[in-house]
């Protein structure tokens, strides 16, 4: 393992610990790691943006498709927001973005979000009692939950409030299910971070790299001290005064 990789592993370990520390208390090391993260992430993405401008915008011009100078110009216009007087100019490129986004959103959402969902609700399997039961439960659930979203048609009486109540319950079940399932995903990530510390860096469970282990303890102490710096300073002052 070369020196750069080792150094990298130590930096990564420190970054991981500093980030975790934020769950306990905000501290200077978390903000340092995060500031570097902000800078690198924006730098990173700007590099790819420039790459993409070059590939999609500049390359065609160099090959003679001069029409591509229009998006380059429009792209530059977005900087007009810095001018007080001409900030409206940036509406032109933004208009193109908004229009395209809206069009893309509308054009295919009918198929995926409406037609598919409706036709799957209709097709109730009648092969046995259990699947029929599920099918009807699904049907009632879908209809009631749609009813929950109605804005202006305010029915009166028990039926209407019953429907919205059922709809609410169904939606809450969906939310709770997603909440429960998210636990799996987030813990996968959490375990991954722990693995990178415990296995990749310290070497557990097969062996213990004592250098890294000592480093880990030192880092924890340092970050802990930063977290509780105020309390520690107070303590020190207190003992001096007495």
């Amino acid at each position: 393992m070369d020196i750069w990789q080792t150094l990298g592993l130590w930096i990564a370990a420190f970054g991981t610990l500093a980030c975790f520390s934020f769950a306990f208390k905000e501290n200077v090391f978390f903000h340092i790691v995060e500031s570097i993260f902000i800078g690198t992430s924006v730098g990173y993405l700007v590099v790819f943006a420039l790459d993409s401008i070059a590939r999609t915008g500049v390359t065609p011009i160099s090959k003679g498709s001069y029409i591509y100078s229009i998006p380059l110009l429009l792209g530059l216009l977005i900087f007009a927001k810095y001018s007080k007087e001409y900030s409206w100019v940036s509406r032109y490129p933004v208009a193109l973005l908004v229009g395209t986004g809206t069009g893309l959103a509308c054009r295919a959402i009918v198929e995926v979000n409406i037609i598919r969902q409706i036709s799957d609700t209709i097709v109730i399997s009648v092969k046995d009692f259990w699947s029929m039961f599920n099918g009807f439960l699904m049907l009632v659930g879908v209809l009631a939950a749609i009813g929950y979203f109605v804005f202006t048609l305010r029915g009166k009486g028990r039926v209407y409030s019953g429907v919205t109540r059922v709809g609410r319950v169904v939606l809450m079940v969906s939310f709770a299910t997603t909440f429960g399932n998210t636990v799996l995903g987030r813990f996968s990530l959490f375990i991954g971070s722990l693995q990178s510390l415990l296995s990749d860096w310290i070497g557990l469970p097969q062996r213990i790299d004592y250098l890294s282990a000592t480093g880990a303890v030192a880092m924890l102490l340092l970050i802990g001290a930063a977290c509780f710096k105020d309390q520690i300073l107070d303590k020190l002052r207190g003992t001096k005064a007495s």
């Binding site: 900030s87 609700t121 109605v150 997603t178």
Partner: protein, 258 residues
């Protein structure tokens, strides 16, 4: 002439456009519609008032999606909420800090903030540095927001638009600093966390209705009526089609696939 298998889609799209359009037309004609309460939106004023009392700023984030993405409507809806929020903040003389993940939203937010300040007669309250683009990487963005919360301790945090995993991080951050939180998203994967961690939340379609609800503009409220007609159409279609299906005819299912 049609792309294969997309006739039903096109018909539905046009039908729903027509329904919404009819609603808008009715609204413009002066027909009044009574709209169900959306507590989260009514809470905006409470949130801004709270910030004014405490002398602290309001925080706003219009979500994850850029304006050219498929989820752009969520961002646009969030910006319509921001329009109202900016007016309220200018009226109560409360600074509003907008943190951004997507840079293409900067000019839009800038324009809304400027106009709100002018419209409420306080052009001096507009400050360009209150619009803070942090990073398109959600966790780097979170780091920036964490620093802003630590330093400026917003009294109210409004999170609207499409969201990703960082939703819970930012919502818990607000909880830690005791901020009053109003959220809203149509991103199904993040809705549970807003419901769990925020004081008020808009669920799904409610986000898209926010602009109309807040503006109280009769024309836009008519649009909401149109949306309801669309929903009832879906319900009616499902009911009729299911009855036919159980009687042995798959006509209505096939109809959707032409």
């Amino acid at each position: 002439m049609f792309a294969a298998g997309r006739i039903a889609q096109f018909a539905l799209l046009i039908l729903f456009f027509v329904f919404t359009g009819l609603g808008i037309w009715l609204g413009r004609k002066g027909k009044k519609f009574e709209v169900r309460k959306l507590a989260a939106l009514d809470a905006l004023e409470e949130g801004v008032g709270r910030a004014a009392e405490m002398g602290r700023p309001v925080h706003f984030n219009p979500g994850w999606y850029s304006l050219d993405s498929v989820e752009a409507p969520q961002t646009v809806a969030a910006l319509s909420v921001f329009d109202r929020l900016a007016h309220l903040c200018a009226r109560y003389n409360v600074p509003v800090i907008v943190t951004l993940i997507r840079p293409d939203v900067i000019p839009v937010v800038d324009g809304l903030l400027r106009n709100a300040a002018t419209a409420e007669g306080r052009p001096e309250i507009y400050k360009a540095e209150n619009i803070r683009f942090l990073s398109p990487e959600q966790f780097a963005y979170f780091g920036g927001v964490a620093e802003i919360f630590a330093r400026e301790k917003p009294a109210t945090s409004v999170l609207m638009g499409g969201y990703m995993a960082y939703s819970l991080l930012v919502a818990e951050l607000g909880y830690r600093y005791g901020a009053f939180q109003v959220a809203g998203t149509a991103s199904w994967h993040q809705i549970p966390f807003f419901v769990a961690a925020c004081d008020y939340s808009l669920i799904g379609e409610e986000l898209f209705a926010a602009g109309a609800y807040l503006s109280k503009d009769a024309t836009l409220l008519g649009g909401l009526f149109g949306q309801d007609v669309c929903k009832l159409t879906c319900v009616a279609y499902v009911v009729v089609a299911t009855v036919l299906w159980l009687l042995g005819s798959d006509l209505f299912v096939k109809l959707l696939k032409i």
